[in-house]
Symmetry: D2
Subunit: 333 residues, 4 copies
């Protein structure tokens, strides 16, 4: 079927490629004309603006936005709202805030337009492995677009089936889920990323302790010099923590067990923050997911003001003058 | 080759079975004679006491202990120390504390006995999938016992190889690792379990937030009724958090998405505590691994004394009288 | 000067009493007529509705709302907005969300009305000790109301002056602060409460560890039977953690060192949640303030769904069947 | 009465001074002769070695060690054990590990020597304000030394008495506590310091959020420029969080609200670590005390290995290349 795609970054462009491999017809647009030219060479129809995209698609139109969350997405939706006709569908496949989805869906419904929020996981591997899709919106629209979602999803692959799922929605085992009404798709994707932060942090802390098993803070007879690359690899087979994140860790450590190419500055992309906000709003304790987020905040500062307040108090009651060492780039080095 | 096995619980018995499938000869003992009888029916030699085991094995002997950590293991090692001959080998395959391994190895070395500490992951699935092994001790002993370890380990299987490992120790990709000198095997296993706690807690918190997405604390138009079983399943394909722990979660939720068969009382088995201790000794921050442990502590109490102290202060400054509700068994129910 | 007070709960009524002791004239209203009758006996003018209050005050009017945060406050402000005249002032002395203050101030400004947000700390002790006030809003209005704030604040008392404050705003040492424009008063009060949660939790955890120093998990020769009431008391003199919260803890433990009158169910009142939200929005790590909040969430549940998910995974990989004990009411008992 | 003091750093020397002010007779020793000379000028008897100290004191002798925890204290105790006579008393007033106290007391008892472990709080202010003392050991020895403890403690001062303490041990209200048998003194001091870490961190995080209330991450209309020095000061009067630590914070911020003289590198001194260890051994959740410790660990590194592991995973699944900015010395600056 036909799909318009707005936003041809890595994610948007690869979604288009995966759809075209399954025979779908894509009309594409990006502010930067270059990725559209490349996709046109592969069979897509590149257009020069949103009006041209609307003109190029048959009603009811299905237009997928793959843009940075926030102002650009909002502006693009507003522009489309003026161009589209009742029955047309806008899909936000980016990482929008789920409450924004609920608001937007209500606004678009007033104009007869449908809206889907689609959480999309898969990263740089999605083109080959497929995208795990978490969809929020009206069931009839989700059904109508089933060929698109089925083409994007990974499929059952050689992953063993989960016992006890007979009679349940078979789409789920293909790797796409109609999670509920608008907001549900991005809510589920948000929690996915929140869990991702927590699992990553668990692995990262474990390797930090392993790396410092020869710490001078330990008695000499207790110091252990461990090979973190081999440890990551052995855990990939038969251990309880086998996971894709561990696979990636093993690959990175095999290349350089000191990870010297990484600064240690770690970004966060919004979903981790929204996850904490949801936990707080629901009054659900979420220690691990929150600690994982705070670690990233901390990684982006030389020192916090909080730490200086601690030093100031310590000087006040104990006369401690905190040293001001040039911090080691790596405490092991 | 020959192996003596002491402790025929599920782990010990299945290790024996997996070894015999590869043609190894096992002499077995347990205080309870029943599992020995069953293994004898499968071809093992069951003996009546430790002295009989020593008599049944050819020197140099290799005896694997699969016993609860602590007093029983210590007593058994002491008894063997009096029975064995120089050159014999004791292997502790349980979850010992790594500092105990270092001490024990030193004590046994005085008598000419060798010692290996082997962290063993695989749980109830190890018999079929194989055991991930993390080994500490002298390289010559580890080499001599290679047929045993190779038979127990999962092998490379169909897990994709990690790029960049050419020239590295090939045993690792078979699922067993000589991690270093004594203590290293259980240290690595300890951190494995610490990471396991953290990853489990990340997943658990995420599903808690999902389950309460329809919380009455949210405005009515924002409440979402989500199917946690389908969510777990869809994440198994193409998402970033694919993992064995997620597979297990999906299986459990497919059987009963309310998990009514579980009380919520969660044990911990020592390695999580030792992981925190190691982090503190090395001065490595380990927020997530520690929070995961504390959650388990908390799960085993009705209320903490700390919470009562909070209520007492609140009454003191604000006159708040904390309600004493019968706590709901499930806040969703 | 004249002040109208709406909301005559403990806080509102005591503020009126403290003001009347300093000779201020109060017009009071509450949905429930009883507290107004009592205050009228002490010299206040009790009125029957908001219109009567407006009629009873001379312009420019100053009306203080001491109502539960949320819908009631919003409705009351809306009703006053229709009754008041340009130049009149509304003060919200409750625990409003600071972003609501900024919005409200903007809305009221369109009608020529001024607005102050006043964070008020002091609890049940404020009548005698005075209230610590954190004020947001226009400086001219804050200045005009100075007699009110000065009467409510504790004054310098016998608290030793802080060195180095010469030339700084002298109101601060009297216990009231003009923190900044609208929103600043409640923002500062919010952080005050966030810190309060964290300090309370620190004290509470410490006493929990003290109380369980005779835990059966410790070797018998290491168990200590400590008197938590005496410990709290001794720390009141000369220790680094002397604080009002410790004073209150000592009082509670002197009355009953088992705190049997407290269930352990601990409420939270909004500011702790908003503090976490502010930390996340500013990307400031706030581990302790957040953990303190989550402890309260956890205290209000029998078991979390997260804990059941942990048990389900443990059964999946290890065959562990979590016991379902009747939880002890107190692990020490 | 007579007291020997070994270790004349700031704490040891000031204890001697405070005792001499009350008429006690002090024999003093330090490896460095200078502080002994100064105290001799004030009336103490300075000796040249431990044997001379033993010779200078009448039996039963009371000798207080104020030395760094660890090897020096152990060696000094061993040396005294060979010099002293049955009935003599050794007091460790430093920050020893409570399990070491129990071991040492047992060892010394074999030689007929008594041992006290005395946790001492008061820092640089102790000379004037008095020291809060937490004492472990035999009651008869504690009673005999009461004049010493009474002279060191702050006394009741003008701190309001706690209601409900009639009939309780009156020493406690003077600021010294016989906490229990050996180990109890340092256990209680350890938890004091653990709570201290937690309270400090709560205050520090709060001020960090206040300082960044004008963060560019907030919408412009929500940014607040707050005066943290005035905020600390106002909370000293009538607020719930009044405390000595807040007093010290106010003093530091009054001097420089940017705290530019502090690097943000924060040490920890052992008790915080032991507190976490005790919590883990007792299975008491102690989130806040632990997070406070980890913050200090983190403050002493440029970047953790854990953070690099996070970046490596992020590159692996998402192609994210973490920037390597020169970290701002202060995110506000």
């Amino acid at each position: 079927m036909q799909l318009g795609m707005v936003g041809l970054g890595r994610m948007g462009a690869n979604i288009v490629r995966r759809l075209m491999r399954s025979g779908h017809e894509c009309v594409v647009y990006d502010r930067n004309p270059e990725p559209g030219r490349q996709l046109a060479a592969d069979g897509a129809t590149a257009v020069a603006d949103l009006a041209a995209m609307v003109a190029s698609l048959q009603a009811p139109r299905h237009i997928w936005l793959m843009l940075p969350a926030g102002a650009i997405t909002e502006a693009t939706i507003a522009e489309f709202a003026a161009l589209l006709s009742p029955g047309d569908v806008l899909i936000d496949g980016g990482n929008a805030f789920w409450k924004d989805d609920i608001r937007r869906a209500g606004e678009l419904a007033h104009k007869g337009l449908a809206y889907l929020d689609v959480g999309t996981s898969g990263g740089v591997w999605g083109l080959e492995r497929g995208y795990c899709l978490m969809i929020g919106g009206p069931e009839d629209v989700v059904k109508r677009m089933d060929p698109i979602f089925a083409a994007l999803a990974p499929g059952a692959g050689d992953i063993p089936p989960t016992p006890g799922r007979d009679g349940r929605d078979p789409r789920v085992e293909q790797g796409y889920l109609h999670a509920g009404p608008n907001g549900a798709g991005h809510f589920v994707k948000m929690i996915h990323n929140g869990i991702e932060y927590g699992m990553m942090q668990a692995i990262a802390e474990g390797f930090d302790i392993l790396r410092h098993a020869d710490s001078p803070q330990l008695a000499p007879e207790l110091r252990l010099d461990l090979d973190v690359a081999d440890i990551a690899e052995v855990w990939r087979r038969g251990s309880v923590i086998t996971s894709w994140l561990l696979d990636l860790t093993s690959t990175a450590l095999a290349a350089d067990e000191d990870l010297t190419g990484y600064s240690g500055y770690v970004d966060d992309s919004g979903e981790g923050r929204w996850t904490v906000q949801a936990a707080v709003e629901e009054a659900v304790p979420a220690e691990v997911l929150t600690a994982a987020l705070y670690t990233r905040f901390r990684s982006r500062q030389d020192h916090t003001f909080a730490e200086k307040v601690l030093s100031a108090m310590r000087k006040g009651f104990g006369g401690h003058v905190e040293p001001k060492p040039a911090l080691p780039k790596d405490p092991k080095a």
